[in-house]
């Protein structure tokens, strides 16, 4: 405890005491004190605690974070970064997904050919498709594991009840995102998996069959289903997921950061 306090003091002293200008300082000034950098970030590299907090608080991307967090929450074993990883995978999927869209036409006549071409003709096409595929599987896994970590650390307890519910919605959206993407390659794996999956919806009492019909856009999985799944996959569900993620992250801050022992 005392030692930690001393380290903290040293840190403050080291970063806030002015020093003579060495090579490092001149390099630093060259990078961080020119007009271009200043026009973008308005301040130099944040090297004092005050500036570091300001950097986080005033940057549109970083300010999803609080400015300070509790020591125990930086320990990898507290969260295993699983929520962060889910978000990272979501971003990665967005980037690779946009690249795949350049080559893919959601029509039953072309879809399979396009994927085949992606695998054989397009430079890095197979790699893009593989990354997208593995990240999609990975995201389902990380979201499930994130849910388990939140549960076993008791982090759903008041005041975080609602954020847990937002999380459950995110879980459903993640599964739906993956499920809608599954149809797009238009191979045997795709259409039969979606047939089996949508038939499950159809088995619900009373509303099942009408719902299945709306989802698939017909009696069997065909062009109507493909364009529905495609639209949901590339715009509808990602937008919804982005909205819920924003709420999720915002609530983490509103609820006072990550849960910690009382």
């Amino acid at each position: 405890m005392v030692r930690e306090r001393e380290e903290w003091g040293l840190l403050m002293a080291a970063t806030e005491r002015p020093e003579g200008r060495g090579l490092g300082d001149r390099l630093y000034d060259g990078i961080f004190h020119n007009r271009v950098w200043r026009s973008i970030f308005r301040s130099g590299y944040p090297n004092t605690p005050r500036n570091q907090m300001l950097a986080v608080a005033t940057n549109v991307f970083l300010h999803l974070h609080p400015t300070r967090i509790h020591r125990t929450h930086v320990k990898i074993t507290h969260t295993f970064c699983l929520g962060g990883l889910s978000f990272f995978l979501f971003l990665g999927l967005t980037i690779t997904g946009v690249l795949l869209m350049f080559y893919y036409v959601p029509s039953v006549d072309r879809a399979y050919q396009d994927i085949l071409a992606l695998d054989t003709d397009v430079r890095f096409g197979q790699l893009m498709r593989n990354i997208h595929r593995w990240m999609a599987h990975g995201m389902v896994l990380t979201v499930l594991m994130h849910m388990m970590r939140v549960f076993y650390t008791g982090a759903y307890k008041p005041p975080r009840e609602f954020n847990w519910v937002v999380g459950v919605v995110l879980l459903v959206l993640t599964l739906l995102l993956s499920f809608t993407g599954y149809l797009l390659p238009w191979d045997q794996l795709a259409i039969w998996a979606i047939t089996v999956g949508t038939n499950m919806v159809g088995s619900a009492p009373i509303l099942g069959e009408p719902n299945r019909f709306i989802l698939v856009g017909g009696f069997q999985v065909g062009q109507a289903a493909l364009i529905r799944f495609y639209t949901l996959h590339v715009i509808g569900l990602p937008l919804l997921a982005a909205v819920f993620m924003t709420v999720h992250f915002w609530r983490i801050r509103r609820d006072g950061g990550l849960a910690r022992p009382l």
Binding site: I76, F88, Y112, V196, G197, V201, S203
Partner: protein, 304 residues
């Protein structure tokens, strides 16, 4: 982040309060650089990992979709194979819609059941949390496996193996000892419906012409004959199991003093749920082959 409660705001900032706030500050780190760097490093590590993985393992692409050729087996994506597995053991409306809906609602409702603050913010920090997790997980996994083995009639095979003293008993061999015929109803779940000669009054309960008399209201009469043994096998028994067995687990755990608080029961049930979910997914993925028979299976070998 000291959450300022109204009570705390109302109090004069005494020496003690200020002391506590200072101590909390000292426990905190700045997001920049400490957290931002951890995030940056893990983003780099995972970008590299996924690129290497994608470089080494190709995503599957089978033949072009053909609605006329149904592959055997046809499987949903892996994260829905748990539901597809349930489908084999109960009414499709239960497995495909009702069970997942109820499960999701129950999942979302966890924080509204378990509301006290005990055990927050640390891995399994309440007393007995680890043993409870272990018991829930083992019971969930083993229970699910046993039920599936039962429904596949594996106990009959085991019985015949033991009774005949050989690994692969031949039913046509002289002196073959088979599963006792008076236990025919216990070969699997469906046998309760098929192996017992139910009286006609039960297999065709005319709800339409006896109970729901829509014709009395001037509406067309509905034709609704209910097959009670089928309802028993497809709905009543599965629902009783899915609700009853977890309740039984909680009851026993409470009796032996393992689960005492709400959090204890929550951990027990959640662990059981996750284990069941995983077991169903694994069996659905790796142990359902052609005709969805219970045999080892993988999509990566063989011809499709």
């Amino acid at each position: 982040m000291a959450v300022a409660t109204p009570a705390a705001q109302a109090q004069p900032a005494s020496q003690a309060v200020r002391g506590r706030q200072r101590r909390q500050r000292e426990e905190e780190l700045l997001v920049w650089p400490d957290l931002v760097f951890v995030e940056f490093i893990s983003a780099v590590v995972f970008t590299i990992t996924f690129t290497i993985l994608a470089y080494m393992v190709d995503a599957l692409l089978l033949d072009r979709a053909d609605p006329a050729v149904t592959p055997n087996p046809s499987k949903a994506p892996w994260y829905f194979l748990n539901l597809q597995e349930l489908l084999l053991h109960m009414h499709p409306a239960l497995a495909g819609v009702i069970v997942p809906t109820v499960a999701l609602i129950a999942l979302g409702a966890i924080p509204y059941f378990d509301t006290d603050n005990e055990g927050q913010g640390e891995w399994l920090s309440t007393a007995r949390a680890w043993p409870i997790t272990a018991v829930g997980a083992v019971v969930g996994a083993a229970g699910t496996t046993l039920l599936i083995l039962y429904d596949a009639g594996k106990h009959v095979q085991v019985y015949e193996m033991i009774a005949n003293g050989t690994w692969s008993p031949d039913p046509d061999a002289p002196g073959f000892v088979g599963w006792p015929s008076w236990l025919g109803w216990a070969t699997n779940l469906r046998a309760i419906q098929n192996d017992i000669s139910w009286p006609e009054e039960l297999t065709r309960v005319p709800l339409g012409s006896k109970v729901l008399r829509t014709d009395l209201l001037g509406l067309p009469a509905i034709d609704l004959d209910v097959n009670l043994p089928a309802v028993l096998v497809e709905q009543i028994i599965p629902v009783t199991m899915m609700i009853g067995l977890p309740l039984l687990l909680s009851f026993v755990a409470a009796r032996v003093g393992l689960a005492r608080t709400k959090r204890d029961h929550m951990i027990l049930q959640f662990s059981g749920f996750i284990a069941t979910f995983l077991t169903l997914t694994i069996i659905g993925t790796y142990f359902r082959g052609a005709g969805l028979e219970l045999v080892p299976y993988t999509i990566f070998v063989g011809d499709h």
